[in-house]
């Protein structure tokens, strides 16, 4: 008997959102699978054939590529998980814990490529870490001939992925902790005589893990198929599978598109198999864990673990931040040769030479990021409002939003490009924004859904009873009260857009250069001082967005204690 709001135009938003998503991904997957089996009429492929698969499986680079891919994909995910869980379990409620949580968001904002570029210089045999001890301590008059980056097994890539993904997992973990009443669980366990680390592992981890699952799968899928970081730090001959596929798609020999399509499909199968394997591992570990919990071991004070895991986490954070600072220093360097630990002198020459081009690229990056993040925000708010005004439970179908995080980019971008060409959108700004939206929107949703759903519904009821309609409630109550998470989610979306490499190349048809595509292209061999300029800008832009997202609400609500 109470009037139901049907939502009107809002009802279209979830459908529109899913359509925007599913169409390119589904078309992209099909458009990749067909050529994998020989069907691509524009290149003369009309008969189904397994030739591309035969060629793929016979390729000399494939075994090496698979091994490097598996090592870096699983290795980095395992390290990131271990450091995240180890640190949270061993060091919760310590000083280090509070400091670390502050550093997370900034590191999260930094694009993968920038982290990789920074690490490449730190870790190289002629890089900063060895320079610091050479030749006085190490005895190296010349850089040693050891592959510390671009090594055959992808170990440098593994480390870089772990550096980049650990902050993401830890931040996800912190978000999840708020929902499981961790302090009460810990207090209960501690009062039963459990040491802090064991108490956390036995009472908190089982409760938060389900919420970490999706982020972990996303990390695993990403690490197995990353391109930009692999181009910078990964092995070269043979490269990882994703890079191999990427090269086939770009080879002048168009017949290799078929092999590339087969490789992209293999990449997808690999990711699916990896996730299944991980799930099986979870089940096995959970079974062992139950037995461990039931055994009742109390554990000790965990002091050694606390030190060890804190050191591991800060090591990871230091590598990430240190690499960026060093690249910023490179952009100001005059000459900086082995074995000098510092540049011979500083100069603004490089910036003066690059400023015009960097500005152009920066504007493109900014416009693209704002468009994609803004659009994503609109759609996400539309979906959430539709859900709340209808009093619906979170729609099941919305998990489809996370699809782009789990499906490897190379597995569908080629097919999606074919779709864009057919639609005449190839190389247009619209196609570019759309391609970024695929990856921006899930993160915006991830960042905003929880705070939006958690807002005390009685505020809305009060406002309604005071005479405010749905629009009034949205603009005058919800949006201002949730200004902080809204801006934070937008900054997350912006940072995700800035970091996109492959979608920019595919959808932009090479016509749009962003700070990331420039930085990756330059990283391969260009003047490191110029690379420094782009790596710095690439990191600075999203950091600035995060700073604004924090500062604006703080300033706006400087006289509102409850919102600080």
């Amino acid at each position: 008997m109470s009037p139901r709001r049907t939502g009107g135009p809002l009802a279209l938003v979830p459908i529109l959102t899913l359509g925007l998503f599913l169409l390119p991904i589904a078309a992209g997957l099909v458009g990749t699978w067909l050529p994998a089996f020989g069907i691509l009429p524009s290149l003369g492929g009309t008969e189904p054939t397994l030739a591309a698969w035969q060629r793929l499986l016979a390729d000399p680079a494939l075994p090496g590529a698979l091994s490097a891919t598996l090592i870096s994909g699983f290795g980095s995910t395992l390290i990131a998980c271990a450091v995240t869980v180890g640190f949270a379990a061993a060091a919760h409620r310590t000083w280090a814990y509070r400091q670390a949580t502050r550093l997370l968001a900034p590191l999260l904002a930094v694009p993968h490529a920038a982290v990789a570029i920074g690490l490449a210089f730190l870790l190289a045999p002629s890089g900063l870490l060895l320079r610091l001890v050479s030749p006085w301590a190490s005895g190296f008059e010349l850089p040693p001939d050891v592959a510390t980056v671009q090594d055959r097994h992808g170990l440098a890539l593994t480390l870089a992925l772990a550096v980049k993904e650990t902050p993401f997992l830890l931040l996800m973990l912190l978000g999840a902790l708020g929902q499981v009443q961790a302090p009460q669980r810990l207090a209960t366990a501690r009062s039963l005589g459990y040491g802090p680390t064991v108490a956390w592992l036995k009472t908190v981890l089982p409760a938060v893990y389900p919420q970490l699952r999706l982020p972990i799968y996303a990390v695993l899928a990403f690490s197995l198929s990353v391109i930009d970081m692999a181009l910078i730090l990964g092995p070269t001959a043979p490269p990882t599978l994703a890079v191999l596929v990427f090269r086939w798609f770009n080879d002048p020999d168009l017949a290799l598109r078929f092999v590339g399509a087969a490789g992209a499909t293999l990449q997808l199968l690999l990711v699916v198999a990896a996730i299944v394997l991980w799930r099986l591992g979870e089940v096995a570990l959970a079974r062992l864990g139950r037995r461990w919990i039931a055994a009742g071991g109390r554990g000790g004070s965990g002091r050694v673990g606390r030190l060890g895991w804190s050191a591991a986490l800060f090591g990871v954070l230091t590598l990430g931040v240190g690499g960026l600072l060093v690249m910023a220093l490179w952009s100001l360097a005059d000459r900086w040769r082995w074995p000098d630990a510092l540049p011979a002198s500083l100069t603004l020459d490089t910036w003066a030479r690059q400023v015009q081009r960097a500005m152009e690229t920066g504007w493109t990056t900014l416009a693209l990021g704002l468009a994609a993040a803004g659009l994503a925000l609109l759609l996400v708010l539309g979906c959430l409002e539709h859900e709340q005004q209808g009093g619906r439970r979170p729609t099941r179908a919305l998990w489809l939003l996370y699809l782009p995080l789990l499906v490897p980019q190379v597995a569908f971008l080629f097919g999606a490009q074919v779709l864009a060409v057919l639609a005449g959108l190839d190389g247009s700004f619209v196609a570019l924004v759309w391609s970024h939206l695929l990856f921006v929107l899930p993160y915006v949703f991830l960042a905003l859904a929880e705070p939006w759903r958690r807002l005390d519904p009685r505020y809305v009821r009060s406002a309604q009873c005071l005479g405010a309609g749905p629009l009034g409630v949205f603009w005058r109550v919800k949006l201002p009260m949730l200004l902080r998470p809204v801006l934070f989610a937008t900054a997350v979306g912006f940072a995700v857009s800035v970091a996109q490499y492959l979608p920019t190349l595919f959808a932009g048809a090479g016509r749009y250069a962003t700070l990331t595509t420039e930085a990756v292209a330059l990283a391969a061999g260009a003047d490191r001082r110029v690379v420094g300029v782009y790596a710095f800008l690439q990191a600075a832009l999203p950091l600035l967005a995060f700073a604004l997202a924090v500062a604006l609400p703080a300033w706006r609500y400087r006289h509102r204690r409850a919102l600080q």
Partner: protein, 407 residues
């Protein structure tokens, strides 16, 4: 099956070309240069050019400013990591029926990419004869301005610069650089881990293979003709593989890892990880010293018996949106002003295609004023030019290299 790749590429291009025949049937006429200049004003030229070198990018940006000032057209540098991307894009566009609104107006090209585009009728022209500055090109003493990797240019690409393979080395570390392939091998054995070459199909790495092959092949003249069969490759290239098998254990990272590109290898030289890098521009070492990217002690050496030389060009795709403006840009690139600027080692250090004797005294002075730089060899020291093999050899060599060493 080393022949496969080139053959397959050709077959694909041919198939696509016939599929897109309808588009090409409407031949696009080449305007007179005056008409081109008139039409060019206000047009935008998307210049697809390899973007891996900052100094070259800066030079192209300078060209953009000049043509805008002179002709009121806009030049956009689309930075490619591989010119092959542009070839496949033109192909995809024409196959989709896009006959005159393509996304590429001008492309920096030579060798296999030119051969492929020419074979598939993907090039606009012949337009080169219509460009007034082409008369200044030294087609006599620089025959590679007319024959690109054994393929006649037929006026479909305008010469832009001269490249000659050379080695950059650190004279502080090497007193007496090697004088031929065998000496290089001997030097590498004594100095393990200090030499490398980029992994083919990077063009610098591929050129290294061709240079060694020309030196070691029993009959190098065979390379000027298309590759006939896999058996021929196996026979002719056998000394090359023996040489590489001997060399690789002494390379940087034991020959297990290769630098990704020429610039990457030059950076490794500057980092002190290598003593030798490869280059295609005789002025490059001086240029990089001036730019603070190589030590003052960097110098150049070549093999006195000769090193591979070629010309690089610009071409206009058949479906260019602004072929008139592209012609105007191509003409400017051949102008004494642009060529002299390019040859300056402080800018780029790429040798001119022009015949200085054909220039006015004023323009000759532009070239005379260019500082040669400390690391640049004199024309006499630079040695004879060896001609590029036919493109079919290169793709076959790349495939076979991949099969042998990429695992």
């Amino acid at each position: 099956m080393p022949l496969c790749r080139f053959a397959a590429l050709m077959a694909c291009l041919a198939a696509a070309a016939s599929a897109a025949g309808a588009v090409r049937a409407a031949e696009r006429p080449v305007p007179s240069f005056e008409a081109a200049v008139a039409a060019a004003e206000g047009q935008t030229v998307y210049f697809n050019a390899w973007g891996g070198d900052e100094r070259i990018n800066a030079y192209i940006a300078w060209v953009g400013e000049r043509v805008e000032a002179l002709h009121g057209l806009e030049l956009v540098h689309v930075k490619l990591s591989d010119t092959a991307d542009a070839v496949s894009r033109v192909l995809a566009e024409t196959a989709a029926g896009n006959g005159d609104a393509g996304s590429i107006d001008l492309v920096w090209i030579n060798g296999e990419n030119f051969a492929a585009m020419k074979e598939a009728d993907l090039l606009f022209g012949p337009f080169v004869e219509a460009l007034p500055n082409f008369a200044l090109v030294d087609t006599e003493d620089k025959p590679t301005t007319l024959v690109d990797f054994t393929v006649p240019t037929d006026g479909l690409e305008a010469p832009w610069g001269m490249a000659k393979f050379n080695f950059i080395y650190d004279s502080a570390r090497i007193a007496d650089p090697p004088g031929d392939a065998q000496e290089l091998l001997a030097w590498a054995e004594v100095n393990p881990g200090r030499f490398a070459y980029p992994a083919p199909p990077d063009f610098m790495g591929s050129t290294f293979l061709k240079q060694i092959l020309i030196e070691l092949a029993a009959d190098a003249d065979l390379l000027q003709r298309p590759l006939e069969s896999p058996a021929q490759l196996a026979e002719v290239a056998a000394p090359l593989w023996r040489y590489l098998d001997a060399l690789h254990p002494h390379l940087w990272r034991d020959g297990q890892i290769f630098p990704t590109s020429g610039p990457a290898q030059r950076r490794l030289l500057d980092d002190g990880e290598l003593d030798v890098a490869l280059s295609f521009h005789p002025g490059e070492a001086s240029s990089l010293i001036a730019a603070g990217q190589l030590p003052e002690s960097a110098r150049t050496f070549v093999f006195p018996e000769g090193t591979i030389g070629n010309t690089h060009f610009v071409a206009i795709p058949i479906n260019a949106s602004a072929p008139e403006a592209a012609m105007v840009v191509a003409n400017f690139l051949m102008s004494p002003e642009a060529q002299a600027e390019k040859q300056n080692p402080e800018i780029w250090g790429d040798d001119t295609v022009l015949d200085l004797d054909k220039l006015s005294a004023e323009d000759r002075k532009r070239f005379a004023d260019i500082p040669r730089g400390p690391a640049t060899l004199s024309p006499e020291e630079l040695g004879p030019v060896l001609l590029e093999p036919h493109p079919s050899w290169m793709t076959a060599l790349e495939d076979e290299w991949r099969r042998r060493y990429l695992r």
